[in-house]
């Protein structure tokens, strides 16, 4: 782990990514403590204010402090994206390993399911699913994760296929190890690396989808602060004040940029072909 971080730190872009990701995680963790106001504290008299010493990023159309809301939105973005990726990766891993180890017929079925899900562009699939099943954080997380299952499933399958007949696994089998034991203690640890890289590369995509759906008004429901819904509110009042959009857009860009750079650095750091290249 330490070696990996050191390797990421080598590249300037990796360093920037790591710092952004650390900042985002820190803000998400500490938002209730460090936010100057409550994210939903309304002060209509001071609505649509520009930045000042009392409100560093200004206020929105209800006079809510934008900095506090941006911070609270960080929690939403982080929680939603981690939950989505965790669920998608778990289901994908499971299905991918089943596809690689089960009889061919089952493999076919799993692959066709992956193909069908992939036939929908992920944002559009999430959009359609939420439109049909209703909004809410739980629905959002579950339905968006569905769109990401095939990617994890395919990589888990390919990795499992690659090591299925490796000598050390054969040896375990000869020694009489059960299927479950082989999968849990040998296959799984060996295929987790690439899955982890894919997970980190997908975090910015999920953040964008969550913000996008919230922007459309079908993501995180109010009064929860989401960067997407803040942008939506800001967009509505764009003629009167640009500040509500600036804080949210800045945070969103910082998060996606930082996690993209971090994901790419992580990918390069784990790529044996690039070892020693800086």
């Amino acid at each position: 782990m330490r070696i990996l971080l050191a390797r990421i730190w080598q590249w300037p872009t990796g360093r920037l990514g790591l710092m952004c990701v650390a900042l985002i995680l820190l803000v998400a963790l500490l938002a209730p403590v460090i936010a100057p106001y409550g994210p939903n504290a309304i002060d209509v008299k001071n609505r649509l204010q520009g930045p000042s010493f009392t409100h560093w990023l200004g206020t929105d159309h209800l006079g809510r402090d934008l900095l506090s809301r941006v911070m609270d939105g960080t929690r939403v973005a982080v929680l939603v994206s981690i939950a989505v990726i965790a669920i998608a990766a778990t289901i994908g891993l499971l299905l991918g390993m089943i596809a690689a180890l089960a009889p061919r017929r089952i493999e076919r079925i799993v692959l066709v399911i992956f193909d069908i899900i992939s036939a929908f562009p992920s944002t559009i699939l999430a959009l359609a699913l939420i439109a049909l099943f209703g909004t809410g954080v739980a629905n959002l997380v579950l339905l968006v994760s569905l769109a990401f299952v095939p990617q994890f499933g395919r990589i888990a399958r390919a990795q499992t296929l690659a090591i299925r007949n490796a000598p050390f696994i054969e040896a375990e089998r000869v020694l009489g190890a059960s299927h479950g034991r082989i999968v849990l203690s040998h296959v799984l640890p060996n295929i987790l690396g690439p899955v982890f890289v894919l997970a980190s590369m997908n975090i910015p995509v999920v953040i964008t989808i969550e913000a996008g759906l919230s922007f459309l008004g079908i993501g995180v429901p109010p009064p929860l602060a989401s960067w997407g819904s803040m942008l939506r509110d800001g967009y509505t009042y764009l003629n009167q004040s640009v500040w509500p959009t600036i804080g949210a857009a800045g945070a969103l860009t910082l998060a996606t940029l930082g996690s993209t750079l971090f994901g790419e650095a992580l990918r390069d750091a784990t790529d044996p072909k690039l070892q020693g290249v800086s």
Binding site: I116, A119, P121, T123, L132, F133, L238, L252, T260
Partner: protein, 332 residues
């Protein structure tokens, strides 16, 4: 598996096309079935949901009968397939208009937006990538790298909001909303500039990065070095020989990004209040007009899988290595 001939090599181009089309058919049928069941799984009584809470039980029953919602599921699924095959995507439950008509009416707007965005992305991204590869390590290269990754990371709808703010609201240079007057080509083009740029910016960065990476790889290949040794000018090597090879992987990745392009178009259409498939789906979502959501999404999926097929085939056709192996495999 290394050393194992790919499916393309075994069957030849004809076989490859056929197998791709067969897979496409299965995927489309699967996607249709999924969409059908998704609308069936909507929580609550579908007819009640569609008509809203004020509908009386008698109205709900009559509506269910009229829409065939009282039939068994397999009958409805079969009828859905049959109708779509005939080009019938169902009817808007609010206005009663055929959904296909609604989609066809705005489809040219979405297609124009998508093509303009991709065209702009290629037009600027490709030369930018070539420049970065040629002057590798220079200030310009570094600047391109930073700019590309920043614009790739910025979501399309954020870019769209800022373009709108700067060029329409502050500078008043370009129109804020709509797709332009029908029949007035200049007006339509003017209305296309900001939405297309909003989508294209990310693509420019994306294509520039890809182009740079594959160009660097190609420029290092032995045949290019041989050309250099023969004294062929750098410009000629770049544009006549290297570009052709480097463009192929870029094309493949452009194909993969078409889904994002269509999704980006939805946001952009909403922000610029531009009629298109995206805005139809969005309005339908807000009105809980499920048949329109179903029909609209189906059209987007069709556009997505078919454009992916075209890119795949183009890829097989353009890559001399694949073409040669197909020729060796002979006709199938």
């Amino acid at each position: 598996m290394p050393g194992k001939p790919s499916p393309i090599m075994k069957t030849g181009l004809g076989g490859y096309i056929l197998s791709r089309i067969a897979t496409l058919g299965i995927v489309i049928l699967g996607a249709m079935t999924t969409l059908f069941f998704l609308t069936q799984l909507v929580p609550g009584n579908l007819a009640q949901v569609l008509l809203g809470p004020r509908a009386t039980p008698a109205q709900v029953e009559a509506f269910a009968e009229r829409m065939g919602l009282d039939q068994p599921v397999y009958v409805r699924l079969w009828r859905f397939f049959f109708q779509v095959a005939q080009g019938d995507l169902g009817h808007d439950i609010v206005t009663g208009r055929p959904i296909l008509d609604m989609v066809l009416e705005v489809l040219p707007n979405t297609v124009a937006l998508a093509f303009a965005a991709i065209g702009l992305g290629l037009l600027i991204g490709v030369p930018l990538g070539i420049y970065a590869a040629t002057y590798r390590g220079s200030r310009g290269d570094q600047l391109t790298a930073i700019l590309s990754v920043s614009i790739i990371a910025t979501p399309t709808f954020v870019v769209a909001i800022y373009l709108l703010l700067i060029f329409s609201i502050w500078l008043h240079w370009l129109p804020v909303i709509g797709a332009g007057e029908p029949g007035n080509l200049v007006d339509q083009l003017v209305h296309l500039i900001l939405p297309a740029t909003a989508i294209a910016l990310g693509w420019i960065g994306y294509i520039a990065r890809l182009m740079r990476a594959s160009m660097l790889e190609v420029l290092d290949e032995p045949h290019i070095r041989t050309l250099r040794a023969y004294g062929v000018s750098s410009r000629r090597i770049l544009w006549k020989y290297a570009l052709k090879i480097a463009a192929i992987p870029t094309l493949a990745v452009v194909g993969l990004g078409i889904g994002d392009l269509l999704a980006g178009a939805i946001f952009v259409e909403i922000i610029f209040a531009r009629p298109g498939i995206g805005s139809i789906i969005y309005q339908a979502i807000n009105n809980r007009n499920y048949p329109v959501v179903q029909g609209g999404v189906l059209v987007v999926v069709l556009m997505f899988v078919i454009s992916n097929l075209i890119v795949d085939l183009l890829y097989a056709w353009l890559d001399p290595r694949i073409r040669r192996s197909l020729a060796e495999a002979g006709p199938s």
